[in-house]
C-alpha cells in the first residue's frame, strides 16, 4: 500500500464526531436490544392493564407504565444521544488543543503529537472502527486515536479502507459508511 499521512488540528466538530463514534463503537448491541425489549414488555403490560383493570387509579398507573415503556424503549434513540452530546460539550471546554500527524504504511501506524509518538504494528491495535466521519484506531483499554475523514481524499479513503480490511480482518468494523 502507498503510505497515507494526515496532519490535523482537532476542531470542535472533530472532537464531537470522535466521541460520538467512540460511544457508538462501545455500545453493546445486547444492551440496546434489552432496553427495547423491556420497553415493549412495559407497553404490552400497560395496554393489558388498561383493558382489564377498571378504575381511575389503575388507568393512571397503566398510563404511567406506558410512558415509562416509551422512555425505556427509546432510551438509546433519544435520551442517550442527548446525554452524550452534553457530556462531549463539557469535555471540549477542558480538552487541550492538539495537533496530530498520523501515518499508515504497509506494516504499521505512526502517531505523532506534541507529547506522544508511537509506531504501532497493526497487530498491536485491538480494533479499528470507521463511521461516516472518523476512523478510530483502538489500542485498547480506552487508549485510542482517530483520523477525521475530512483530512483524507476519496482515493486515500478507499486505499485505506482496503488496506485496513486486509490487515485487521474481523477487528475492522464499519458503520454508516457509504
Amino acid at each position: 500500500m502507498q503510505p497515507v499521512e494526515v496532519t490535523f488540528l482537532v476542531t470542535k466538530q472533530d472532537f464531537y464526531e470522535w466521541k460520538r463514534a467512540l460511544s457508538r463503537a462501545q455500545l453493546r448491541r445486547w444492551e440496546v436490544m434489552l432496553c427495547r425489549g423491556m420497553g415493549l414488555c412495559f407497553l404490552i403490560l400497560g395496554i393489558c392493564g388498561a383493558c382489564f383493570f377498571p378504575g381511575t387509579a389503575a388507568k393512571t398507573a397503566c398510563a404511567l407504565l406506558m410512558l415509562l415503556s416509551v422512555a425505556v424503549g427509546l432510551y438509546y434513540d433519544t435520551l442517550y444521544p442527548y446525554l452524550i452530546h452534553r457530556r462531549i460539550t463539557a469535555m471540549w471546554e477542558t480538552a487541550p488543543q492538539k495537533t496530530y500527524r498520523i501515518g499508515f504504511s504497509e506494516q504499521q501506524v505512526t502517531v505523532d503529537s506534541e507529547r506522544y509518538c508511537a509506531t504501532l504494528p497493526y497487530a498491536m491495535l485491538s480494533g479499528v472502527y470507521e463511521d461516516s466521519h472518523v476512523i478510530l484506531l483502538d489500542i485498547g483499554a480506552g487508549e485510542l486515536h482517530f483520523v477525521p475523514k475530512r483530512t483524507l481524499t476519496k482515493e486515500e479513503q478507499q486505499r485505506l479502507q482496503q488496506h485496513l480490511k486486509r490487515v485487521m480482518n474481523e477487528k475492522y468494523k464499519q458503520e454508516g459508511v457509504r
Partner: protein, 184 residues
C-alpha cells in the same frame, strides 16, 4: 519532544496483569474517602445498626419485627456488595483492560525530570509535563498516574525500584503534585 536535562530518576519496569488490576483499583478507591470500600461498607453497616435500633419500637407498636429485620438484611447485603463484590469487579475490569491493550504488558522505561517525565516502551513514547497529571496515587506497592497522558493509567510497581529511589520519587511527587497527590 523533551528538552535535555539531568533526570532525577530512571525506572525500568514491566507491569503484570495483577499490577494493573491493583493499580486500577487503587485509582478508583482513592478518588475520595467515600470511594473506599471499608467506608461504603461501614455506612451500610451503620444503616443496619439503625434498623436494629428500630426493632423494640416496631415490636411494641406494630407487633412485628419483619420490617427492621428486612432492613438489616438489605443493608448487610449492600455492605457485602460494596465491601467485597464491587472491589473484585473493579479489579476484573482492570484485568480486562490490561488484556485488551497489548502495549500495557511491554517493558517500559520512565525518566523523571523536575518539570516533566518521559515514558517509553518498544512502540510508544510519552513526554508529559507534571501539569498534565490530574491525579497521582501511591500505596505500599504502586504509584499510579492518570490524566491527559494518552494512556488510561500509568502504573509504576515499587518492586521495580530500590528504597532510595522510592523515597526520592515519593517526596518529589508529594512536593510537585501537591493536592493532586493521594497516598493510600
Amino acid at each position: 519532544m523533551g528538552t535535555s536535562q539531568q533526570a532525577l530518576l530512571e525506572i525500568r519496569a514491566t507491569v503484570q496483569r495483577r499490577d494493573f488490576e491493583m493499580g486500577y483499583y487503587l485509582a478508583r478507591k482513592l478518588v475520595s474517602p467515600l470511594h473506599l470500600p471499608r467506608v461504603q461498607a461501614g455506612l451500610c453497616l451503620t444503616g443496619a445498626a439503625l434498623c436494629a435500633t428500630m426493632i423494640p419500637t416496631c415490636s411494641l407498636y406494630l407487633g412485628s419485627v419483619w420490617a427492621p429485620v428486612c432492613g438489616i438484611g438489605f443493608f448487610v447485603f449492600l455492605a457485602g456488595l460494596f465491601g467485597w463484590l464491587v472491589p473484585s469487579m473493579v479489579k476484573s475490569r482492570g484485568g480486562w483492560m490490561y488484556q485488551t491493550n497489548r502495549t500495557l504488558s511491554l517493558p517500559y522505561t520512565m525518566r523523571v525530570f523536575e518539570d516533566r517525565f518521559e515514558w517509553e516502551n518498544e512502540y510508544e513514547r510519552i513526554c508529559a509535563h507534571w501539569t498534565d497529571v490530574d491525579r497521582c496515587y501511591e500505596n505500599r506497592q504502586y504509584y499510579v498516574l492518570r490524566g491527559d497522558l494518552e494512556k488510561p493509567l500509568l502504573v509504576i510497581p515499587k518492586k521495580a525500584m530500590d528504597a532510595p529511589a522510592m523515597e526520592t520519587l515519593s517526596r518529589f511527587l508529594k512536593k510537585t503534585l501537591a493536592v493532586r497527590y493521594r497516598g493510600g
